[in-house]
Every structure is written in C-alpha cells, then in structure tokens.
Symmetry: C2
Subunit: 125 residues, 2 copies
C-alpha cells in the first residue's frame, strides 16, 4: 500500500518543511522502526484538499482509497501508522469502524472505490 | 474510464431518486446518445463527501483520480460529459485548465495520484 502525503499542506510551528513534509519524514522513520513491510510513504505536491492540512491518501491495488485530513506529525503519527496497518490488513480497504483511530473517524475527506467496483458489493462508510 | 456517482447524495427538486441517482441515469443517456466508448457511469453508495452533493469521481487506469462536487443533473450534465471526454483523452488524468468547465474549476474536492506515482513527474493542480 501507499500513503500519499500532500507536501503543499503547511502547518504552524512544525519547522521549515511545513506539516506535510514533516509528516513524510516522521512516517518513514516510524514505519522503518516498526519494520513494516509493503508500506510506501510518498510525497505528492497537491491533493487539492487545501482547507484541511495535512491531508493523506491511503491507496492499495484493488482497494478503496481513503483521503483523510487534519493530520499533523506532532499529534497523529501513531494513529496514522495504526490506521495504515489496518488498511493493509483489510481485504478491500474499508477499515472496520472500531479499528479506526479518532483522527480517522473525524478526518475522512472522501473515499473512492477501486476501478472495477460494482455497487452489489457490501459496503460500510 | 469510470465515473462513479454518489447516489447517497440528495438534491432538492430532482425527483424521487435524489440528485445522485438522477445524475447516473441522465449521464448514461447522454453518453449513449453521444456514442461515447469506454466511459462507464457507475453508482456508488457513498463517497463520503456529504457536504457537496452530488459528488462524482473520475477514475482511469494509471491516471489521477479527480473528485468533483456540487453537481446536479439539472445544471451540469453537458459539463460533466465534456470534462469526462477531456479526462479520457488526457494522458494522466490531469485535464488542462482551459479545457475544464466552470463547474469543474470550482468543484474539485480532491485529487489522488495513480498507484505507483512518483513526485518527479510534472504536475499541475
């Protein structure tokens, strides 16, 4: 799976890199420390969700994409890692509500089905 | 390419189907009338962009995904068709600004790069 992190997102008081770039670096350190395999953290110049910095997108082959905003390296690092590992374990990208950290329950900006999705599948928001 | 249309989105004065479902049906008629090939219009139960109905997502293999809100069958049918055909023609899903209808310039909720994207690529918002 890939976590795209918007590095156009700027936060306050998080160093010269802005909140998005700080998040990329901090997440890479976290996943390396956790020896998490198959999780790529990639910067992207703009996700066009400019009102809710920093925004990340969780993307995986054949899975729903989730966009989550209002995240900072200072406050949400562990929750992002936890949510990413749940996403990775999930069959279709839809993480059960009880497994979602608080910031992910509040921060969902949008979700998009995988290409090839048909509405007959079972869904929960 | 696929246009996912959120059928949980409800509009006002657009019949019993709500604005999302009305949009699905109207778009299918439009694309059929235009003999457009390779464009699938698919309903999806929720895109989680509940404040900007109706919302659609344009998705294509290897392309950026674009989420656009504030669309109605009554007002934006031709613009959605126009934008979809531009998206289909585009190499990477990024439609040049001058080709974007007014509703797409104003309505972008988010965009997500294709899986495998690396930031070195040329980008415009």
């Amino acid at each position: 799976m890939t976590i795209f992190v918007c590095v156009s997102c700027r936060g306050q008081g998080e160093g010269e890199g802005g909140s998005g770039l700080a998040l990329v670096n901090a997440l890479r350190d976290k996943f390396a420390a956790a020896s998490a395999e198959g999780v790529a953290v990639k910067p992207v110049e703009c996700l066009a969700v400019c009102k809710r910095p920093a925004t990340v997108a969780m993307v995986g082959a054949g899975k729903w994409t989730y966009l989550v905003g209002d995240l900072t390296a200072a406050d949400h690092l562990d929750e992002i890692v936890e949510a990413a590992l749940s996403y990775q374990r999930s069959e279709n990208g839809i993480v059960p509500w009880k497994e979602r950290p608080a910031s992910f329950r509040k921060g969902v900006v949008a979700r998009i089905p995988p290409l090839g999705f048909e509405i007959q599948e079972q869904q929960t928001t």
